[in-house]
Symmetry: C3
Subunit: 447 residues, 3 copies
């Protein structure tokens, strides 16, 4: 957190941060085609239209309401007094940006970064609800994400809330730190995806009567892997802008952030490829893509604070962890998550945040500017990160589940069985994504 | 318009403007795949090759000739004396950049911005002529666009011409203003598209003998919606760079421009989705995409001058207007415009320019730097914008139609009927876009 | 080469260079889908997974080892004494960035630029080995590219090695200059691709028993042409960042670089389109794409040093040359290169480097800052460029061939014949790229 009213150091850094933010929507575009490619073709149009739709809803709702919940560091907020300290729980920002001043402080940048960040988060549950989630329900669910869960947690982390105060108030390192949004964007997206998966249940035919999952390959591997490449460019912007805004990064520091981002996803992707090759005899394209993106997710929490060699370790572990998580989710938890968003974004984000607590080595400048603390981390930083993860699981997950459960009472979120048979494209949109291509008849008998 | 010889304020802003311009070709790539996806598959390769070809031709011709017509603000131009004032009608810039100095003034940036802008404009008519426009004719038509119509109008707006002088000379607000090119790029592209549609006529089979249009769905919805996402990133650059060059925007002002851009397309897209859902019972993916892009087009004229809440109103109206316009064009004017470029770019651009006249609220700095005027707009600004639109319809449209009509006498622009039967891919290029995919037999009997 | 310890002039230019580098991976994404689209569908997933995999391997190996070979200008290196001068042959940089300082000098930028550059280079041979190159072999081959050949040559050119010293030590102009990497990235990639083509041999069925090549059209023209558009944006970043780092470009100079880049690819693409239209009666989409990319490759060597009109000549010649080269490679050398990487990147890069020797007109500032020489080029510059090309053919090609030949003894690089029959997707990955689409039965009988 920068001190109140502190400009982002200089006009060049302000402009650089803005330009980095311009790249963030490429991450959303990447995720959208990954999700689409990992669906079946009869739901392809629905998948990508849902992504565009929820991104739009997320930006509008964040502008209307979300930002008032999140606010920015340094302005008055709703606080409670506890253990002898003031803790900030909720922002008091303007709705509809009413009275907001666009100046050279970091406030306008935080708004823009968060608006594109929530659009990115909103795409994550789309893949989990693939082929069975009503478009209108996903839009309403996203309104809650953008208006409540995302900005609430972002206030705690990015806008001076209690998690970021853990350093100054309780001596836990620099407090919970997550400049690139591995928590605010990805875990929030991941726990929302988990809620959706529980509420919707698996696709018909995904599990046999004995609970054995059927394989449901995606329909377009090129989309999936092109999506990884687009997401990579988006992430360069995401992590750099976050480092400027929330990790006191100066110009020269940004190169380290980007090098770490690249090393993390590269090592995670290669690890996933190698493990699938060893386990199944052949590399798996979609699991490699999952590993690659999981590395990007983890890097968002770590890349501003760790060394390149530590990043290698973090990336390799990400690539292994995501495969394990996918297996646990699919086989043991019986959760149907076609593009593995829960594992990639949820578990990947948790790992990134904990890894940062283990490997972070803050610069004196970061320590001085972020927390005015005088001591480096010790185990306090890990504890702060653990508390952040606990808050996500203990508060944000129940909130997301509860809201979506209530929504489900009013607007049943799942499309009826005949819709699944037809595919969501025909059922909800009235036309398929590829009307001129001959599609192989899909055996729906086991469904 | 910045005063003569005035540098773009500072090196950081100069470099930022350049980097924003680097993103503009993503808008062209986005439009190209939108157009391609909204065609039938037998013309897909032709559609995207035409886009690449006309973009290239546009850049080359603009470099060779167009820039001499457009020129930049502050250097001598061809003027006429009228109503007691000097009015600039035509630039006197260099051909082939002969003797042009690449310095830190805004002239090189205006050149680069316009060169990428005309490449973007050139893609717009491609979709209107889809499946029946000869590649060579589209290239020749584009040469006229890039050499005459685009730079002529751009001179009037961006380079100190008579439309921009309406403020200073006639007291109409700040004069015609369109920093992001909703007129120079999009309406010029849109009226060219209209000319092409009139000259080519509808595709065979598009209308029954009773004049009822047949539905002609696109062949690839994922391309269309991915195109929206790529275009969005391009537009962030387009509107920001335009605001720096033509709206005296400083660093902090740019965030507002970008927030408005995002809100405008998001609200337009959602509006189109909701209206199609209400009218047809189901959301329509391609009309939603049209709405989204129409919001982007409108934002190019407005985002530097209006508040975020006014932007919401502009966006919502854009999304509704484009649907109405598409219906009028297709059902009442009997014009066959497969990707709705006339409505999205032409009508969207007109709406954006008029909306700016209604909602604009200039900052004192803009007033001081742009026109040295002392009073805020009143109804004068709306009148200036109306005059600009009138000039487009009264001068640029006849020019574009006339030139393309003459071209049509020498090089018949429409491919013969057997070419339509085969598809332009096979007929003009000798091979299809997807030679290994099995394409469903298209019933050509009604054609 | 900037003098030792010299910062990249200013923080704005440092940040601009970084942001330009962020766009470079779009060039890799573009090449990846070009390659994929020019393959047959049964190898599409393999092609793009290989691209992602080798890019990742390249970045990891460059970080671990390659940078120590390349190093940066101004730090001690391995030198030899010859003809009365010290010549630098090999860098002494850190492995794993051990002890590397991320500061505001150009060293961190050179690292990042080279890491993304080697990722781009690694994608080039993938297309040449299409449909028959084992994934594991391509990864191992890439490790050699990223650890030895790329950094070795980059040291010679970008990091103060003997080729860059030819100006100062031997009076050959400013020494070998290639700021955008037409040699380091593209020719190195091209000669590696040639080695791979020789070692793998042509695809089964590519040549009849009489040695006549069969046409093997790609499976997805839209991917190919969209790839050109994405690559264009990547190249804007590539050439601009290179010009800042290795051609002493200041802010105003960068606009010229970008204008040249755009004119070069546009004229090359149009030339290829026109020639194919004249020769075959119809424009060829994939050869036009080859011409377009060849123009981009050539521009990397020239765009910082030549005028826009000279660029037109260079571009037009690029478009013609690549077609001639493709014919020579396919018909006379009997080399099977599905996406023409050898011609596009290898020959295009050679042409760009030689053209620069012919057309370059250095600014006094470049002369002063780059070589401290006092005289403009004369024929010396051409000789320096010729020596660079000779070094690529005389040293890097044998190295690449030798290493891949040895690798082939341990890990046979070519997949067995049944793998080609099935397609590399099924054979190596176990599933196709488009499992739901009906693919036309491919006549494998002539193979």
């Amino acid at each position: 957190m920068l001190p109140e009213g502190d400009p982002v150091s200089s006009s060049p850094l302000f402009l650089t941060c803005m330009l980095c933010i311009f790249l963030v929507p490429l991450a959303g575009a990447g995720l959208a085609i990954i999700n689409t490619g990992l669906n079946r073709s009869r739901s392809a149009s629905h998948a990508i239209l849902s992504s565009l739709c929820v991104s739009s809803v997320a930006m509008l709702v964040y502008f209307a309401l979300g930002f008032s919940v999140q606010s920015v560091y340094g302005v008055p907020s709703h606080t409670v007094h506890c253990i002898g300290k003031q803790w900030s729980l909720l922002g008091k920002g303007p709705i509809f940006l009413h009275g907001f001043v666009f100046d050279l402080t970091n406030a306008p940048l935080v708004f823009l970064y968060s608006m594109f960040g929530v659009a990115l988060a909103s795409v994550i549950p789309i893949s989990t609800g693939a082929e069975r989630w009503k478009l209108v329900a996903s839009a309403l669910s996203t309104a809650f994400l953008a208006g409540v869960t995302f900005p609430l947690f972002s206030h705690w982390v990015w806008s001076g809330g209690w998690l970021s105060q853990l350093g100054h108030n309780s001596g836990l390192g620099l407090g919970f730190m997550d400049p690139g949004g591995a928590s605010c964007i990805h875990i929030v997206g991941g726990v929302t995806a988990l809620s959706i998966a529980w509420i919707l249940g698996p696709r018909h035919g995904k599990y046999t009567q004995d609970g054995i999952p059927n394989a449901t390959p995606g329909h377009h591997a090129v989309m999936v892997l092109l999506g990884c490449m687009l997401a990579f460019v988006g992430w360069l912007g995401l992590n750099s802008a976050g480092a400027i805004l929330f990790a006191a990064a100066q110009a020269e520091h940004l190169i380290l952030v980007v090098v770490n981002t690249a090393l993390c996803c590269a090592s995670a992707g290669i690890t996933a490829l190698l493990i699938t090759r060893i386990r199944f005899g052949r590399p798996d394209a979609s699991l490699t893509a999952n590993g690659f993106i999981c590395g990007l997710v983890a890097s968002s929490a770590t890349s501003a604070f760790v060394s390149p060699t530590a990043t290698l370790a973090i990336g390799i572990f990400s690539g292994a962890l995501v495969l394990l998580s996918i297996e646990v989710v699919e086989f043991h938890m019986k959760i149907d998550d076609p593009a593995a968003s829960i594992s990639v974004h949820g578990i990947g984000g948790i790992w990134g945040n904990l890894a940062q607590g283990m490997f972070a080595n803050f610069t004196p400048e970061q320590i001085a500017r972020i927390s005015n603390a005088s001591a480096n981390s010790g185990s306090g930083q890990f504890l702060a990160q653990l508390l952040g993860v606990a808050a996500l699981i203990g508060v944000i997950l129940p909130l997301a589940y509860g809201a979506n459960w209530i929504l489900n009472q009013f607007v049943p979120q799942r499309i009826p069985i005949e819709g699944e048979r037809q595919g969501t494209d025909l059922f909800e949109l009235g036309s398929g994504a590829y009307p001129e291509f001959s599609i192989l008849s899909d055996d729906f008998s086991h469904m």
